[in-house]
């Protein structure tokens, strides 16, 4: 291979707001969230709603939105026995993106990552390198991405690659969702790349495993040129 290209990258997204919801699957709160078990859906209010268990939901949003998110979800289940807890600081979150993201993850996880088993918008909780991790397949689409900018250039002095899709480490879910809602036209990256999806996974684990998860991803991704952005 004459040129080594960055086919997979990882970003630490621990700063994003994380809210854990436990409620009766047959209750009003479950009906209002309206996401089936095993699926992750963006709601109309800048949050990614992940149904991690029959009776549990994980909501991800921009870093400063935890408190309003808790209030909003609590209001959905008014009077119902449910718990809505801001777990932002108790969990670590990373995003793994790239054409070989699934191959990297497959080295650490026994779950079938092929499209028929785990398509975009799918989520599961399983062991990743021996640690319980919530995995959300949340493919990068042009509307959800920013083209490689200075802030998203991989560390280590690699050349910036115009048109290279990279999840911006500073972008919030909220801002990405707003561009999503506007359609992909305004967010088409330089180079006229097709509006194709790029494999991307969100990985959530207990915060005490943050460095460990980073280390095992770095190790597994080394042969694919994984870069942290």
């Amino acid at each position: 291979m004459a040129e080594v290209s960055v086919e997979v990258s990882a970003t630490d997204c621990t700063d994003l707001a994380k809210v854990l919801v436990r409620a009766d699957p047959g209750g009003a709160l479950a009906a209002a969230l309206d996401v089936p078990f095993g699926r992750a859906v963006r709601d109309g209010n800048d949050a990614l709603v992940v149904r991690t268990a029959p009776d549990a939901w994980l909501l991800l949003a921009a870093a400063d939105l935890a408190t309003p998110l808790v209030r909003r979800v609590e209001a959905l289940g008014a009077g119902e026995f449910a718990s809505v807890v801001d777990v932002t600081h108790g969990h670590a979150l990373a995003r793994l993106t790239g054409t070989t993201a699934a191959v990297v993850l497959a080295k650490l996880c026994a779950i079938d990552l092929a499209d028929p088993a785990t398509p975009d918008g799918n989520t599961f909780r399983s062991l990743v390198a021996g640690v319980a991790v919530t995995v959300v397949r949340d493919d990068a689409r042009p509307g959800r991405l920013t083209a490689g900018s200075a802030g998203a250039t991989p560390a280590g002095g690699r050349d910036a690659r115009p048109g290279r899709l990279t999840v911006s480490p500073t972008a919030s879910l909220a801002s990405l969702d707003r561009s999503d809602a506007l359609g992909s036209a305004g967010a088409t990256p330089a180079g006229g790349r097709d509006a194709e999806r790029e494999r991307s996974y969100l990985l959530l684990c207990d915060r005490s495993y943050r460095q460990y998860l980073r280390d095992v991803l770095t190790d597994a991704g080394e042969e694919f040129g994984l870069a942290w952005t």
């Binding site: 078990f37 026994a110 909780r125 062991l127 319980a132």
Partner: protein, 88 residues
């Protein structure tokens, strides 16, 4: 890898599960004698054969599962959610 069937998550590595123990009917705490309560807490059949067991899918859906498992062969003939009885 030993696979255990989860009614919610599908077949999963046994390492994801926690073994809770044989299932036992909980007596009425107000009416049970100390002997009955002790039996509920501590006494188990421990069969070499089919056993009704409770497992926790710790690293998966987090649900308690009622499993009919053969303690000699490891075969599982039935599994359901211990609380709801169903798959969701």
């Amino acid at each position: 890898m030993v696979l255990l069937p989860c009614p919610h998550c599908g077949p999963r590595d046994a390492a994801e599960f926690g073994y809770v123990g044989e299932r036992a009917a909980r007596p009425d705490p107000g009416a049970a004698t100390p002997q009955q309560w002790r039996g509920y807490l501590y006494l188990r059949r421990n069969p070499a054969g089919w056993a009704d067991e409770l497992w926790l899918h710790r690293a998966g859906c987090g649900r308690y599962l009622a499993m009919s498992r053969h303690t000699v062969t490891g075969d599982i003939r039935a599994v359901r959610d211990a609380a709801t009885g169903g798959a969701d």
